[in-house]
Amino acid sequence: MNIEIEAFTRVEGNGGAEILIENGEVKDVKVKIFEGPRFFELLTLGRHYWDVPDLEARICAICYLSHSVASVLGIERALGVNVPEEITLLRELGLLGELIESHALHLYLLVAPDLFGYADAIRMASKHGEVVKEGITIKAFGNYIRELLGGREIHGINIKPGGFGRYPTIEELEQIESQCEALLRPARRVVNIFAEQEPLGATVQHYIATNEYLYGDKLIAEDGEKFDYLEHIEEKTLPYSFAKQSRYKGNIFMVGALPRVMLKHDMLTPMAKHFYEEHKEKLASGYVSFNNLAQAIELLYALEKAKEVAKTLLDKGIEGENVPIEPQEGEGIGYVEAPRGVLVHHYRIDEKGNIAYSNIITPTAFNHGIMELSLYEEARKRYGSSDETTFLQKLEETVRAFDPCISCSVHIVRL
């Protein structure tokens, strides 16, 4: 007998799960990614590097800006381009905006209904309008930053190799600074809401993240040693999924908010660090559902950090100069922390500036293994002791904890 979760809801993209039951016991769980393939690596082949980040943005709407930045970083490394601090800071600000937008969407609109017992945020709003409203306000602010730096709320084309199309003005940066301050209070409340979540799924044994908080030139795991993805990560194809699965030194691992706060809590801002300390034990237990608590802590981090970055930029003033680029042959990898975890864009560029090779690995693809394991463990624990509705509900919650972004998971290739 098999139990089928036809389609996960309140997640981005199309995926489901099959739970295989044999002799009254859960034997296996398959997470099926049936979102169709979109062939992004083939799409970018032969295209001029300048146009590529705009196309890669289309991989995923929730984290388009992470894709643009990862793409730009990969391209700049391939072409040997170094950008000044101003441009790095502005990109970081964009990524922080995306973290705010994405975490607020996930926590308030997609997960909170589970905690309050509703099918969605719209229904939840009838009784808990305040919470939903706060969520929407924070999310809209994240989008404002994305629009400012990225050019649009979704799929902007303002983030370019060597700089930006348009640079923000002083007034716009001041606006960011003051808004961040105002939103810190409601964001503190969301940490308290999510501190109450129950442990679900597997306990994570290996964490992977980039070496800096939101991007980096290398990856790190628990041992802190820096590495390139090709050194320790392997991908394999599955017959029942358009997403491949990855292993780190042969093991299942996790990327995302929980790995970030566990590996990089030293880099957190004061208020975020305070909450990390307060919930340290819970987070360290490694249950995947505490990824949501980590996201709530990161929401605070992003607001505090965006304020700090905006202030630094205001103190320095905006030059608004792009770095000129000469096309040349080269190879480069861009590592970015998308809201859901490590994102890799790897390119080879030919002497004319066209893409000769590209490989993209997205967070949901990295997490596919741990997601399956989590469903398996949760299903084993509950099968036979929970009624079917609760059983399925808890499995969905387990998947949702990852904030999976299925549309982005299916474009993983090594050509």
Partner: protein, 246 residues
């Protein structure tokens, strides 16, 4: 009476469905007229029911997509193809080659257990009542359309090129002034020329203007500016498959 609304997502980036949530408070205005019966990105609630309006986003890229599209069509009175994936196939439809070869390049096997298809827009498979392109579309546009429909008014469609919006905003023409390849002259307006606001050329994400596009002359202009034919060919078809001929 409340209208029954369903949002269906085929293969895509999620942006067109997400953009509905980005209406924020305006979404609650819409909910005074609409009851959401299906919207899997936003809700776990689902009711198999006949719908007044079905919104379909994404392109047909698997057999499952096709089945879901037929389900949406057969269960609705009015179907909106929302976003360039749905109206023109978007970027995935511009990837050339047969599906088996593409699968082999990406997954290392020609086997197709998940029944992938070559990506095509939904307008190629079913009759649609309203098509709104944009990758993603402008969210105020869908708000207006849904408000119109709630009041029983057939919503108007846009038919002017992007350049019009550039002029209205008094943006400097990036094509003429800076020689940047901008697809504004042949692209359907409606986004308020937002990319040109960033001083970048339009990449054509809203697809070509239905009737009057003159891609041949745009092609010639850009060729004279020194862009090579292959570059332009790819650029033209990114969002519009083979629709722009010259």
């Amino acid at each position: 009476m409340m209208l029954k609304l369903g949002v269906f997502e085929l293969t895509d980036c999620g942006g067109c469905a997400l953009n509905i949530l980005f209406l924020y408070e305006k979404l609650f205005d819409l909910l005074e007229f609409y009851e959401i019966k299906e919207f899997h990105m936003a809700s776990s609630f689902k009711e198999h029911d006949t719908l007044d309006i079905a919104i379909v986003t994404g392109s047909v890229s698997t057999q499952r997509d096709l089945d879901l599209l037929h389900y949406a069509r057969n269960h609705s009175n009015y179907l909106i193809a929302l976003g360039t994936c749905a109206t023109h196939g978007d970027v995935q439809a511009s990837v050339e080659g047969k599906i088996r070869d593409k699968l082999e390049k990406v997954y290392g096997t020609k086997a197709n257990p998940m029944k992938a298809l070559d990506s095509t827009p939904i307008v190629q498979h079913v009759a649609v009542d309203y098509a709104m392109p944009g990758c993603p579309y402008d969210k105020d546009e869908i708000y207006q359309v849904l408000m119109n429909l709630a009041k029983g008014i057939e919503p108007p469609t846009k038919d002017y090129p992007l350049c019009v919006e550039c002029k209205l905003n008094e943006y400097e023409c990036v094509l003429v002034k800076r020689g940047i390849p901008c697809l504004g002259p042949i692209t359907l307006g409606g986004c308020n020329a937002i990319c040109v606001k960033s001083q970048l050329g339009c990449i054509g994400c809203r697809g070509p203007i239905p009737k009057e596009a003159n891609p041949a002359s745009e092609f010639e202009i850009l060729k004279e500016l020194g862009y090579d034919e292959e570059y332009l060919r790819r650029k033209f078809k990114t969002f519009a498959r083979g629709e722009l001929r010259w």
